[in-house]
């Protein structure tokens, strides 16, 4: 089995994708992201200051890794397409994490606008990674319009609740022809390991690392958990035995008859 992950034109050794939000300082973010070994980092267009007027400008503190601009803040497909074009210009990448959440409370993605925007952005030459609910049918529809990967949520973003959408993630992983990145809601390294054991191609973690009282150590913990989970998946996990060995077998009489 190929240990590395390929999405569109890029190959990743690390299957832990990360974010840049919520850190208590730029230097702490830098250290934590470095410790995580991440090779793909998402950054919100709305936080990017293209004029670099602030001394702790976000971009100058990122370790060497591919940037994945996201459209957090937009509410419609039209806004997302516009923001994507701005991001492509400001960050010089045609990779895009497509996020459309018109609901500012739970930041739950809008499936209708997301599909619409994905279709258009693919036509415009973007490598599109849409953030979506764990909806297997939507994943297939997104594949059909040409997205590079799908990013279903484990739980509402920032909640640290883990794989609440487990049953649907299983179906998505089973059916998908593009990489599946479990995004949002992973609060503990064990959640990330569980997603990887399930066969997810990668996970994206931000809040659990950034808000931890020791983001650097937490980043290392997630790094190891993701590696362990992937290793276990590749080695093929032992299946739990779901039936009992009865002390008085129902079919024992067959032996006596013969």
């Amino acid at each position: 089995m190929n240990p590395s992950l390929t999405i569109a034109d890029k190959t990743f050794t690390s299957r832990l994708f990360t974010g840049t939000g919520k850190f208590g300082s730029s230097s702490l973010m830098q250290e934590a992201l470095h410790a995580s070994g991440t090779e793909l980092i998402t950054v919100a267009l709305k936080r990017v200051d293209a004029t670099h007027t602030q001394e702790d400008d976000l971009l100058s503190h990122l370790p060497t890794a591919h940037l994945l601009p996201n459209t957090s803040g937009v509410r419609t497909a039209r806004e997302a397409v516009f923001a994507a074009q701005m991001a492509r210009e400001a960050l010089e990448t045609h990779w895009l994490k497509l996020e459309i959440h018109p609901d500012p409370r739970y930041l739950l993605p809008d499936p209708i606008e997301t599909l619409k925007a994905a279709e258009e952005l693919v036509k415009l030459g973007f490598v599109v990674l849409p953030y979506i609910h764990a909806d297997p049918v939507l994943c297939k529809r997104l594949e059909e319009v040409g997205v590079a990967a799908v990013m279903p949520l484990g739980a509402p973003i920032g909640t640290n609740k883990g794989l609440r959408t487990l049953d649907f993630l299983e179906i998505i992983i089973e059916q998908s022809t593009v990489p599946v990145v479990v995004d949002a809601g992973l609060g503990a390294p064990s959640h990330a390991a569980a997603a990887m054991e399930l066969g997810a191609d990668a996970v994206l973690v931000n809040t659990a690392i950034a808000v931890s009282s020791d983001p650097v150590r937490m980043a290392q913990a997630f790094k190891r958990a993701v590696e362990a989970g992937r290793m276990a998946y590749e080695a093929q996990l032992a299946q739990p035995i779901t039936w009992a060995q009865a002390s008085s077998p129902l079919t024992a009489f067959l032996d006596e008859l013969s």
């Binding site: 208590g24 730029s26 709305k46 990017v48 602030q54 803040g73 039209r78 500012p104 950034a210 808000v211």
Partner: protein, 371 residues
């Protein structure tokens, strides 16, 4: 409309409920995870004061989970102090004999550049209510002038009609702050005896009009001190809950304008209800425990020492270096301010205070490409 919710509650009953809260009820509210308006009432009651520390602990944790260790930075830009209203607590009140000033195009740009130079990318436009000089057209023009300079434009002016809000949103307005001042109808009328502002119901309906205009964010609040702050805060929370259910695509923020003595023509005016520092902390924490995702904003009305300690307790946005007089940053720094600033420190100083607490000041959290 909110009035249908509002009319279901009697002020005196709300006051009574809050006063009669038992410690057991407070503990119940502290232990639950999804909190109701009744829980909020318990948390702002006098009975909850002994529980301030556990409230603060929870408030900090919830805020960090949702917003991270960040504080958003904004500055007000006062465009005009002309006003046709009489508000008994405001220095810009029609009957207060001060020199009136409305910024010209050139002056708006000078002020905007000065704010930019301080590091800001989010700006709040403020005016009094004077439809002849600073009507919707003036505001529209001002937004057009400064839009190329800022990532995010907020506004705190008189309540407008729905088509007017739609026009300004198209022009690039992202957020509108409109405080009810007080939800007590009679008290409201005594503090606003004249002008368009005396219409309590029109003001009460304003957030509905903003929701219908699909505004990105709106800010609510009551002037803490005009009336019983607990009851006013209950109605603010009720308003918030109604709006979030009804206009689910908009974001919300709450401000805590605590009234301070002001200089009127020949006297210093003081207010009826005085809110202690401890009570203000209680209120801020109670909002956070009630609503995990509402933004909570603290202005330079509050003292440096108080503001410094609140960074970690639930606040998500702050102003710094604010001037509350038109022209205050560069054009005419000596004119009369709308209210007294208690925290005179510069944005750079506040920024280092925030950093020293392990937080990051956020200067840009919006993009002009979002319509």
């Amino acid at each position: 409309m909110f009035k249908d919710w509002f009319d279901r509650y009697a002020w005196d009953t709300v006051v009574g409920d809050i006063q009669e809260t038992t410690p057991q009820r407070v503990e119940q509210a502290l232990e639950t995870s999804k909190r109701s308006l009744d829980d909020f009432k318990a948390l702002i009651s006098p009975a909850a004061l002994p529980y301030l520390e556990p409230m603060a602990q929870q408030s900090r944790q919830l805020t960090q989970r949702r917003f991270g260790k960040t504080i958003q930075m904004y500055a007000p830009l006062y465009l005009s102090n002309e006003c046709q209203n009489i508000c008994t607590y405001c220095a810009f009140s029609l009957d207060n004999k001060i020199r009136r000033k409305t910024l010209t195009d050139e002056e708006i740009l000078i002020e905007a550049q000065a704010i930019k130079k301080l590091g800001y990318d989010h700006v709040l436009l403020v005016t009094g209510e004077a439809n002849q000089t600073v009507g919707v057209e003036y505001i529209q023009h001002a937004i057009r002038l400064i839009r190329p300079l800022f990532a995010h434009i907020s506004m705190e002016v008189q309540p407008l009609d729905l088509p007017e809000y739609k026009t300004l949103i198209t022009e690039g307005l992202h957020t509108v702050l409109v405080y009810q001042e007080t939800y007590h109808e009679e008290t409201y009328k005594t503090h606003h005896p004249k002008g368009k502002k005396s219409n309590f119901r029109y003001r009460l309906d304003t957030p509905d009009r903003l929701g219908k205009a699909n505004i990105h964010k709106m800010g609510l609040g009551a002037l803490l001190g005009l009336e019983d702050w607990r009851a006013d805060s209950f109605f603010t929370a009720l308003h918030l809950q109604y709006l979030q259910k009804t206009y689910w695509q908009s974001k919300y923020s709450i401000s805590f304008p605590r009234l301070r003595p002001i200089q009127l023509t020949d006297e210093v005016h003081r207010f009826k209800s005085c809110m202690s520092d401890r009570e203000l902390v209680q209120l801020i924490c109670a909002y956070r425990l009630f609503n995990e995702d509402v933004e909570l904003s603290l202005s330079t009305r509050e003292t440096p020492r108080f503001r410094d300690h609140l960074i970690q307790l639930g606040i998500t946005s702050m102003s710094a270096g604010s001037k509350t007089n038109p022209g205050g940053y560069a054009v005419e720094p000596e004119s009369l301010e709308q209210f007294e600033i208690s925290d005179e420190r510069t944005p750079a100083q506040i920024s280092s205070v925030i950093r020293n607490q392990g937080y990051v000041p956020v200067w840009k959290d919006w993009d002009p490409s979002f319509v």
